[in-house]
């Protein structure tokens, strides 16, 4: 995860978490406050409904009292009650007239056995037994109840009160009431946020349709009598609930603003994070890019050290590091130059010594012949002329190579067998060492400089002879064909093996390092020169431990595309 993304991720919670905490807290506080306020309003409404019912009941009762007084004073009613037949129609119509006069919606006149003597709202229900109303007259507290009164085609709900009175020897009762309908219930819910529902076992009247958010509830319980289908005294409930719609609306508004604020905060956080990360990562990226461009050949990188922040501190560190690197590199180059000159001198020394060795050997042999067999001197000189010429030619080629001061090798078809033979001819071999060669047939020419090929062979053979220290041993040279592939012509594998002391694995790993030698007085350059020359010819060299004792150096050189 990049530094920039980490900064972005870090900024998001910083921007959103406080908003979330604020939003949740605000919602919780608002809910508590509003719910409490709603509860207060609902309870106040319930108290108002109780008072309203009481007031309406008292109003009905006052009318019943007036009707009672009139009834007691009514002689025709009195005659009807004592059975005067001619007054029976008067009795039957009495409640109707009284009901209309009193402004009631329901009125019954009952005797003390619950039988209807006259009914205002249902004229022809006379003589019917009405136990519900009788119950109201007898046992209901305050003689006030919600009564579902029967009509010919159904029923209707009234808030009823009852009054008893005596006419002669009869105890009579008036039960009267006023209609409770949806309008009445709606009037109870003056606040449109309130829902008032009158719930009876028969049905429900509500000021408005139920709302899924109606929650805060208070209720008023009122005795209920279903006179239309008498089932005893029951309870009706006037339930007041408050819609939490306003709260939900407030919440929705808060949520909307919260979402908007969150989006804005997130956007601002992202922009700020981008800016911060850009401010931080850009100089870092520049430092990285400049540091990445640093090489031994490019030590000119500059770092902005003028900043006074952490980036500036880092730049100054890199600047100092760069300065030290530049001075170190200069010293290193000087050392390398010196080392290269020294190596070159050593190499020249080594090569010259190798070229002079056959000449020294020739002259020693010549001096010995001159001392011992002077007459043979001309013959000996003649016999060794070719060798001497070859040695001189080697030295001349060597000198020419160094004169050019280049590592580029002149490559031409070169006979490996001839190079092996010439090298072996000039190789000083102690008496305890036997040198043998196994030159394969059909060995192709390799693309090489003959002097270079000879230098390779001389170095390998001298090392092999030197490895046989004091005891009898054998040095062998073997050539073989390396099959070509596709367009690559066949090459030559030259193996120089000895039966000497051999090399450990550690010695083999370091064998090609410059100045590394296991021989007393060795320069440690022979194998280094061999590897470099082989590589210059496009070949490769490897050391193979031999079974038993000794070491084998295997050189593979690419074949020439032209015949030698």
């Amino acid at each position: 995860m990049s530094f920039r993304i980490r900064v972005l991720v870090a900024f998001l919670p910083v921007a959103v978490v406080p908003l979330v905490v604020f939003g949740l807290g605000a919602r919780s506080v608002a809910r508590e406050r509003l719910t409490e306020e709603y509860r207060t309003r609902v309870e106040a409404a319930a108290r108002g409904i109780r008072q309203d019912l009481r007031r309406r009941g008292d109003d009905v009762d006052r009318r019943l009292v007036a009707l009672r007084d009139e009834a007691v004073a009514d002689n025709r009613l009195r005659r009807a009650l004592v059975g005067v037949r001619a007054e029976r129609p008067y009795l039957l119509d009495y409640a109707g007239g009284a009901m209309r006069l009193a402004g009631l919606d329901m009125l019954q006149l009952q005797n003390n056995r619950g039988r209807i003597l006259s009914s205002g709202h249902f004229r022809n229900e006379y003589d019917r037994f009405a136990p519900g109303i009788h119950l109201l007259l007898q046992v209901v507290p305050d003689r006030m109840a919600l009564v579902r009164a029967r009509t010919p085609d159904g029923s209707f709900l009234v808030l009823a009160r009852a009054r008893t009175f005596r006419v002669g020897s009869q105890t009579l009762g008036f039960a009267g009431g006023m209609t409770l309908d949806t309008g009445f219930v709606a009037a109870l819910a003056a606040d449109r946020e309130l829902r008032v529902a009158l719930i009876t076992p028969h049905d429900t009247l509500a000021s408005r349709g139920a709302d899924s958010t109606d929650q805060v509830v208070a209720q008023v319980v009122v005795p209920y009598i279903d006179e239309a289908a008498f089932g005893g005294l029951a309870a009706a409930r006037i339930v007041v609930s408050h819609s939490l719609g306003a709260l939900e609306t407030w919440r929705s508004g808060l949520d909307e603003w919260f979402r908007t604020a969150a989006l804005i905060s997130i956007a601002a956080a992202l922009l700020l994070a981008l800016w911060v990360s850009f401010q931080v990562s850009r100089p870092l990226a520049q430092l990285a890019a400049r540091t990445e461009a640093v090489d031994f050949d490019r030590l000119d990188a500059e770092f902005p050290i003028e900043r006074h922040d952490e980036i500036g501190a880092l730049a100054r560190v890199l600047h100092g590091l760069m300065s030290r690197l530049r001075s170190g590199t200069a010293r290193l180059r000087e050392m390398e130059r010196r080392a290269t000159i020294g190596e070159l001198a050593q190499q020249v020394n080594h090569d010259v010594k190798n070229g002079l060795a056959p000449l020294r050997h020739f002259f020693r042999h010549l001096w010995r012949v001159a001392d011992q067999r002077p007459r043979d001197l001309p013959r000996v000189v003649e016999d060794r002329r070719a060798a001497v010429a070859s040695g001189l030619e080697y030295l001349e080629g060597l000198a020419a190579n160094y004169a050019r001061l280049t590592t580029a090798v002149e490559r031409r078809p070169c006979d490996v067998e001839a190079a092996v033979r010439e090298t072996l001819a000039g190789l000083p071999v102690p008496e305890h060492v036997q040198v043998v060669h196994h030159l394969g047939s059909g060995i192709p020419a390799v693309a090489a400089d003959p002097i270079v090929l000879r230098r390779i062979l001389e170095n390998l053979l001298r090392n092999a002879v030197d490895s046989i220290n004091g005891t009898a041993g054998v040095v062998s040279v073997t050539t073989a064909v390396v099959p070509g592939e596709n367009a690559v012509p066949p090459g030559v594998r030259i193996t120089v093996a000895d039966t000497g002391k051999g090399m450990t694995a550690a010695e083999r790993d370091r064998a090609f390092e410059a100045f590394y030698s296991t021989k007393p007085g060795g320069t440690g350059l022979g194998l280094t020169i061999v590897r470099r020359l082989v590589h210059d010819l496009g070949g490769r060299v490897a050391i193979t431990p031999r079974d038993g004792a000794g070491t084998a150096f295997v050189v593979e050189l690419p074949g020439s595309r032209d015949d030698a």
Binding site: Y126, P152, D153, A229
Partner: protein
Amino acid sequence: MPSSGDTIVVAVPGPIDPAAAPLARSTGERILFRQLYQSLIELGCDGSVRPGLARAWHASDGGHGWVFTLRSDARFWDGVPVTAADVRASWLSHEIAASDAAPWAGAAADAVTVVDDTTLVVLLETAASAVPRAFADPRLAVVKRVAGLGASLGTGARWLDATAELPTAMPVAGRSGPVLVFTAVSGDPRDAIDAGADAVLTDDPATVAYAAGRAELASIPLPWDRSYVLLGAWSGDSAPDGAALARDAVRVEARAALLPEWWTAASQCEITVGAPMPDSGARGPIAYLRDDAVARAIAERLVVIAGDSARARGYGATELEVVLRRGGAVAAVMPIPRMVFDPCVARRAVRALSQSLPGGVLPLVDVRRRLIVRSALSGVYVEWDGVPRWR
């Protein structure tokens, strides 16, 4: 509207629309139209047949055809002689349905043939040995429609003054008698009396009692003209007591019902009625005509007698017919006329109403109206079916 001179103000149950003639829809229209229009024959107070527009008639084709000869002096109010073609056109114009009042079967265009100006033949489906009384039905009165005139022309002894504010029946030229001004009673009939009406037709007991207390008013009981019956099944334990209903439940002058004679006489009629509607099956309340206070009172009392689950409900006339045909009521409290022109026609009408109701016809109460008139008033008489007329 106090009367003056030869003008008599008649207050009747409304509404009154002269344009509806001759098909009366209310008691008021029924009384008004009786003053204005004539049928081919008329019935005397004893129910005997007497000439109307037709001076003579006789049977043909074994009683399947009846030949009527019009009076030569029969005139419309505009003086134009009444022809047999006018009679046929009149019957065609208001399209008396065969099941309603007409004695013939099918369309009048097929049943009525004009022979000449004064002769027409009416073919009956069932042979009649005597001239059918249905030809006296006011619904078969002869009228002539005139474009632009509010009411049809008639042939009676009074003509309708269409220009008057209230329906006014004027004596035709050459005839004497008072001018009759008809007004519909709305609200308390006593208000009509106090406003100067000379005759008030009412069944309101308070009005009757009020008139009894005023010496200048006379209360003439009209014949028991309606019987209220329960059509359909009765669910109570015992049949309703008609006398009790008449005494306590019904607030008009009533008595325990006696089925009219024609009901028994019509038991032999071949009655075919339309099939009930597909979803018929009696259920629901006891139905009654919403505007009929007597039927409502009876139905409400029946609800009390039948028990807590019973209900009663009032309907308009058309709505009630549909409800009954669909079986939307378990029973119906309906009035049937006690005097009819044709028992079979009347029986068919009742049967059509009650065909989807289970059970039969239970007579409940008979009722009648009274005609409250000023004592000094003369010339009023009551026809055989209880309709008052003025000479």
